[in-house]
């Protein structure tokens, strides 16, 4: 099965290892992974700031670049939600592009849905050992709706001991440009999240969205908390051997492995 990876801008720039982990999970399940070169971002920054014109331009570019693929995989629920739910809405007054956008969105999958529903994987090469807690991103709860699927995948490997958060439906306070428009409110929200994470006793927090991960890691590190932060693809693919998000690279290994 040939699939295309949309890495998402944050994975591309901040966490290539999560991109390679995604590739590894897909290849292990027998997929041939293409990474179309002309990809940048899904357009959420423009869309969420009321700039529909620019959001449309970016969406068109993504749709064109990926139009040949049967399966387009995104290791982020918020980008997947954007592509699946909001791309068609962007073109509601343009019949031609509306059709293109709906066709396109039918082929988009967030990583967890694809692994769970399409590849139906039942084992994952986890190497990580310890207690993790999982932060459900808002888009994974309410757009791609993968809460249970994520739990199923994590349960595929008994090395993972999942400790659930007390308030798993709460937003971490990232919200794209929200966190820089309202840094104080965002800080208060992420503090609540961190208190919840700490209360579980887990040593690692995992999530499926880079935005949340950067936000949570950023605050954890500022507070000098030893809790580690990983993308779910890294955990599932057994690629947690490098420094966690926001941690110093003490392994001296800069080249990601695959």
């Amino acid at each position: 099965m040939r699939v295309a990876l949309f890495a998402s801008c944050l994975v591309d720039l901040f966490r290539p290892n999560a991109g390679f982990a995604t590739v590894s999970l897909l290849e292990n399940a027998g997929c041939i992974v293409d990474v179309p070169p002309e990809q940048t971002c899904c357009g959420q920054p423009a869309y969420n700031n009321g700039d529909k014109d620019n959001a449309r331009d970016i969406a068109k570019q993504v749709i064109n670049e990926f139009s040949d693929y049967e399966y387009i995989i995104v290791p982020s629920s918020s980008c997947a939600g954007m592509m699946i739910k909001h791309y068609p809405q962007l073109f509601e007054d343009n019949a031609e592009w509306y059709k293109k956008a709906t066709d396109f969105s039918a082929h988009c999958y967030d990583l967890v849905t694809f692994l769970h529903d399409i590849l139906k994987i039942t084992s994952v090469p986890v190497t990580y050992q310890g207690n993790i807690t999982y932060h459900d991103s808002c888009s994974s709860l309410r757009e791609t709706r993968v809460k249970d699927k994520t739990r199923h995948l994590l349960a595929c490997n008994e090395k993972i001991n999942l400790l659930e958060l007390g308030n798993p439906e709460a937003c971490c306070g990232f919200g794209g440009t929200f966190c820089v428009k309202y840094p104080e409110i965002s800080e208060s929200m992420v503090n609540d999240k961190i208190a919840d994470i700490e209360a579980t006793g887990a040593d690692t927090v995992v999530s499926g969205d880079m935005g949340c991960l950067l936000n949570i890691a950023g605050r954890l590190k500022r507070l000098n908390k030893p809790i580690k932060v990983f993308h779910i693809a890294e955990v599932l693919a057994g690629m947690t051997g490098i420094a966690a998000i926001g941690d110093a690279d003490d392994t001296k290994k800069s080249e990601p492995s695959s």
């Binding site: 390679f20 820089v180 929200m189 950023g218």
Partner: protein, 479 residues
């Protein structure tokens, strides 16, 4: 009240460092959420009720003029009068006039958010009437001279101690001098003070949760019973409400009531649900002699066919506030007008102007929990996004954010430009941040770094590492 929504940013920042407010918010935080969840878990019919409720509202709104006319006829048949107000000023004038006709001195009030919207208390006081809020929460904030901070729990931001202090100052004149320490003591003293007001009031003003066209009923839900005392004891009962609150039948009302109480407080039904139909009848031995309904438009009719029409389905349950992480962090006052939280961030820009309230639609992470819990499934994030679109379109956002957005979009829609730029950008950052793995300060990201470190980007982007890897693979295959 005059809107202070333009100062949202400052008000929000102040709220976050207001120790007593933060304590009160923490105390309130999970109560509503837990109670609502329990009530919904015990109601397997919830989704069907929700679907029906949406149907009821959509149907009524698409025949709004006819239902309002029918409602009016029924009120007249029962001996009451309906008054119409396009604007809040008109509503104030009508109510002041009615109080004058009643030769009133003291006016008791049941909780009404439309009354807050129309600033009825200010108008009554300016006209020389003594206007007393009787819902305990409303009474507390009236003493404190503050607006409500929650649509169903107006004094949620006040601590027991603050309330005791307010009572100490304001109840001296009624010869109450004891130091109040417990909640029962506070509630009891309010009961005694307000009892006198109920008995002596000449006019009682209540709101209405719904207006029933079929019967011309106005109905209120309260837990305290204050609304019923307000409506029953004075000679004149005035109901202030708004035009979108009409529903066709008593059966339709029952559907909405089942959703309202559970969404609001997690109760199956509020302690007192009362249907009023006109003034005292010949055989009655109590009840008001005059019955008036004042219906406010205040921009609602204009929403009927525009993109904001979904907001007219709101039944004011407050669930979206209770589940909003931004509301829970800053409380209601920061929003600057009578309606806070997600529903307020949609309504305030409509009623007070987009420019006045342009910061509110951005005070959301689009987490979507409001829409999820809204008993009418109102797409609040979508409505906020529409406001954002207009703000951007009308150039009401700052030129700095417009420029940033434009530059970013210019680059992001051109991969040939994006790739080398982003690569060199992160190469520099990645190199700088390599040692510690993060930045605690960055010149262009100070809004981030004021409270969080920024995890350092990788020295090489995924795309460039991938390209390199593929090239290597290819060449080794060719060897």
């Amino acid at each position: 009240m005059k809107s202070k929504s333009h100062a949202f940013k400052q008000q929000a920042a102040d709220a976050l460092v207001n120790v007593s407010l933060q304590k009160a918010l923490l105390n309130a935080k999970d109560g509503f959420i837990v109670k609502r969840k329990k009530a919904m878990d015990e109601l397997p019919e919830f989704e069907r009720l929700r679907t029906k409720a949406i149907e009821i509202k959509e149907h009524t709104l698409s025949h709004l003029d006819q239902y309002l006319e029918y409602f009016e006829q029924q009120v007249i048949k029962s001996g009451g009068t309906v008054h119409w107000a396009s604007t809040t000023t008109q509503a104030q004038q009508i109510i002041v006039e009615l109080c004058k006709q009643a030769n009133a001195r003291t006016v008791t009030k049941g909780k009404s958010m439309v009354g807050e919207e129309a600033a009825i208390n200010d108008a009554l006081e300016a006209a020389g009437f003594e206007a007393i809020e009787t819902d305990l929460g409303e009474y507390i904030i009236q003493l404190a001279n503050e607006p409500p901070s929650h649509i169903i729990a107006p004094a949620i931001h006040k601590s027991k101690q603050e309330i005791a202090d307010l009572f100490k100052d304001h109840h001296k004149k009624y010869n109450f001098n004891s130091k109040l320490e417990t909640i029962p003591e506070i509630v009891n003293e309010a009961r005694e003070v307000l009892r006198e007001k109920f008995i002596n009031a000449d006019v009682g003003i209540t709101g209405a949760n719904f207006l029933v066209a079929e019967t011309g009923s106005t109905l209120i839900v309260t837990n305290e019973g204050n609304g019923d005392l307000t409506a029953t004891l004075p000679k004149t009962h005035i109901v202030i409400s708004s035009i979108e609150k009409v529903v066709p039948t008593l059966e339709d009302t029952s559907v909405l009531l089942r959703l309202l109480a559970r969404s609001a407080t997690g109760q199956e039904i509020t302690s007192y649900t009362t249907f009023f139909n006109g003034p005292k009848r010949n055989s009655d031995i109590d009840g008001p002699e005059n019955f008036h309904v004042v219906l406010l438009d205040n921009g609602r009719s204009n929403m009927l066919q525009n993109e904001n029409h979904e907001m007219l389905k709101c039944i004011h349950c407050g669930a979206c506030l209770n589940h909003c992480p931004v509301y829970s962090a800053i409380g209601g006052h920061a929003y600057g007008w009578v309606y806070p939280g997600p529903m307020g961030s949609v309504l305030t820009p409509i009623m007070q102007g987009l420019d006045e309230a342009k910061d509110l639609p951005f005070a959301s992470t689009f987490c979507g929990r409001c829409e999820e819990v809204c008993p009418l499934s109102i797409p609040l994030p979508k409505l906020l996004r529409q406001h954002r679109n207009h703000i951007h379109h009308d150039k009401l956002n700052t030129s700095r954010s417009r420029l940033g957005l434009a530059l970013w979009a210019f680059v992001a829609s051109r991969p040939a430009l994006y790739r080398p730029l982003s690569n060199s950008f992160i190469r520099a950052l990645g190199w700088l941040g390599k040692k510690s793995g993060r930045f605690s300060w960055l010149p262009f990201a100070s809004a981030w770094t004021q409270s969080k470190d920024l995890p350092a980007p990788a020295a090489q982007s995924f795309m460039s590492a991938w390209t390199q890897q593929q090239a290597k693979k290819k060449s080794s295959e060719n060897e």
